[in-house]
């Protein structure tokens, strides 16, 4: 795949190297600038925005993380690594880290596994399969805040749909969102419901790209369905799985609206993840330094995780 992109690029390069007509001294001098003015014109607006609202904030976060500041007072107090030291020793922050890991592993692992299972099911040539695919993907395009609001209603232990399901199963529904352990489970389940469609669609596209000949060859070699799945389907889906792991890890670190509406980080701190903590420290407790330090920790954590995922993935995934 990469190879073909390369050749296209080369073709473009040769096309663009075709010299325009007429090459007097003046036009040659003008051509020294060539496409530069247009290049600058086309790219500047976007680059300026990226600089001001993406790269500068990154540096500014590092700067703020070394300060003590309440967002209001004109003076920022330099405190060195105090904010980081505080976070390292704070038991609440440790709980926040633990919650973040539980939430990330739950949602990322869940969406990838369920997404694969759903994709395998929805890849069958059954009647009404297009509609089924449509239903599975629909929650992904919905607002997380709105989704969370009606899930609060569904999870209500007295009159919610979950109470009905529990009573069918012969038990009583717990109060999910106010339970110190189950609140996180509920948040993960809602996130799964909302996001599994994305993994499903991506896996479906991947399944449809596996060359039929591979299955035929495997069948000729005497492979049954389980073997074909293990030795053809799974390896072929490797790069996609890697892509999904990286992308859903990044998006799970940014999950905010679901948590804000479902539990507001509670009960106590049971569902406070890193992003929620950063928002709380910055915009509720007005502790800019601590919020910035937590943000830097999150950025570093995410960078390390993505790097490890890609490295491990590249060793185990074959792209051919």
């Amino acid at each position: 795949m990469e190879h073909s992109v390369e050749t296209v690029k080369q073709r473009h390069a040769s096309w663009m190297a075709v010299p325009a007509e007429g090459s007097s001294l003046v036009t040659r001098a003008l051509r020294r600038f060539g496409d530069w003015p247009l290049f600058v014109l086309f790219l500047t607006p976007n680059l300026v925005l990226l600089l001001v609202f993406t790269y500068w904030p990154l540096l500014y976060s590092v700067y703020l993380s070394l300060m003590q500041w309440d967002l209001i007072s004109p003076v920022k107090l330099y405190v060195g690594a105090d904010n980081y030291r505080f976070l390292l020793q704070d038991s609440e922050f440790r709980e926040v880290l633990r919650n973040t890991i539980v939430f990330t592993v739950g949602t990322v692992g869940g969406t990838v596994l369920l997404g694969l299972a759903f994709a395998l099911l929805l890849d069958q040539p059954l009647r009404g399969i297009a509609l089924a695919r449509g239903v599975v993907f629909a929650p992904y395009v919905l607002s997380g805040a709105a989704v969370a609001v009606f899930w609060v209603n569904m999870l209500n232990p007295r009159f919610g749909i979950v109470a009905q399901v529990a009573s069918w199963l012969g038990t009583v529904s717990p109060d999910w969102l106010n339970h110190p352990k189950l609140a996180m489970v509920a948040v993960i389940l809602v996130a799964l419901w909302k996001n599994v469609g994305f993994a499903t669609i991506v896996y479906l596209a991947g399944l449809q790209r596996i060359p039929q000949e591979l299955y035929e060859a495997a069948t000729v070699d005497g492979a049954g369905i389980p073997d074909r799945f293990r030795f053809v389907t799974l390896p072929q889906l490797g790069p996609i799985t890697l892509f999904l792991l990286v992308v859903s890890t990044i998006s799970s670190f940014q999950a905010f609206d679901l948590i804000k509406v479902l539990t507001d980080g509670g009960p106590v701190n049971a569902t406070t993840t890193l992003l929620f903590y950063i928002w709380e420290q910055g915009f509720v407790a007005f502790n800019a330094g601590r919020a910035a330090a937590a943000a830097v920790v999150l950025f570093a954590l995410l960078a390390v995780i993505s790097f490890v995922q890609v490295r491990i993935g590249e060793r185990r995934v074959s792209y051919d």
């Binding site: 609060v152 007295r158 009905q164 609206d257 992003l275 910055g282």
Partner: protein, 280 residues
């Protein structure tokens, strides 16, 4: 074919159909629940076992929701913010990708890396500094504040660049020889050839901006500047748990625009998002 294998195949199909039905029910039930919930009387809502089909649809819940919070204003804000941001992003992405593919300039690779690297910076890290920047610019509770800080585009540039690299060279060549300048080439050749990618782009960014919660929450603090997602969360807060009918009605209204977009563009979304992901 022997009979047992045929039988087994039938059984397999039946099992697959059953499983697919189960998946559809589990995934679709919440949507059914919120849609019908909005139409139930409050007595039907607060009862157990739950009522599955509202006896008489209660359309007045929608009016109640509209009265409880300025929903109309939320919609206008979301509409302006979303269309403004998406329009800016589409323009930036098309121009950037065009420059990166078709202009003869050295160092394009470096510029592309600078754009792409932005994908590695999560909004978490930029949240507080961007709020401070917006505050310094007096952009709190303004459309500029809602739009401009989130209008930079990285993934979209990547999306268009990948597509532009596959455009047929002969056609572009011919247009060039006919004296087509870069603007003409972009308008009359490249954009018409990129319609499917543009639709994919529009859907992805439309959904992202309409649903965005954190930035609007931070950059606005007056009710009349809230967007739909923040507004719905607010509706849930003020109506408390006493009036689920109007909360659910407001929620349905918040969900409908994206559901409509989704149903209208489903073909493109499924193809675009599935396929677009694979190209990366």
């Amino acid at each position: 074919m022997t009979r047992p294998t045929k039988l087994r195949r039938h059984a397999g199909r039946l099992l697959a159909s059953l499983l697919v039905t189960l998946v559809v029910i589990v995934m679709g039930l919440p949507l059914y629940w919120v849609m019908t919930g909005a139409l139930k009387t409050n007595r039907e809502i607060y009862t157990f076992p739950p009522v599955w089909i509202p006896r008489e649809p209660q359309w007045n819940h929608f009016v109640e929701a509209w009265r409880a919070v300025p929903l109309g204003r939320f919609f206008v804000n979301s509409l302006v913010t979303t269309s403004g941001a998406v329009a800016l992003e589409l323009t930036f992405a098309l121009l950037s990708a065009y420059a990166l593919v078709f202009l003869r300039v050295r160092g394009k690779g470096l510029v592309f890396s600078v754009i792409l690297a932005a994908l590695l910076v999560p909004n978490t890290v930029t949240l507080l500094p961007n709020y401070l920047t917006a505050a310094r610019l007096n952009w709190i509770n303004t459309y500029q504040g809602l739009i401009i800080p989130v209008a930079a585009v990285a993934f979209g540039v990547f999306l268009f660049r990948q597509h532009f690299l596959t455009l047929p060279r002969d056609l572009l060549d011919a247009a060039r020889l006919d004296g087509c300048g870069h603007m003409g080439l972009l308008r009359h050749v490249v954009i018409p050839l990129s319609r499917p990618v543009i639709v994919t782009f529009l859907v992805i960014y439309l959904v992202a901006h309409w649903n965005d919660f954190l930035w609007p929450l931070v950059v606005t603090n007056r009710l009349e500047w809230r967007t739909v997602p923040v507004g719905v969360a607010y509706l849930y807060q003020v109506e408390g748990v006493q009036n689920w009918g109007s909360i659910l009605a407001g929620t349905v209204m918040a969900l409908l625009p994206m559901l409509a977009v989704y149903i209208a563009a489903q073909r493109w979304i499924v193809k675009g998002i599935g396929g677009g992901a694979l190209k990366g």
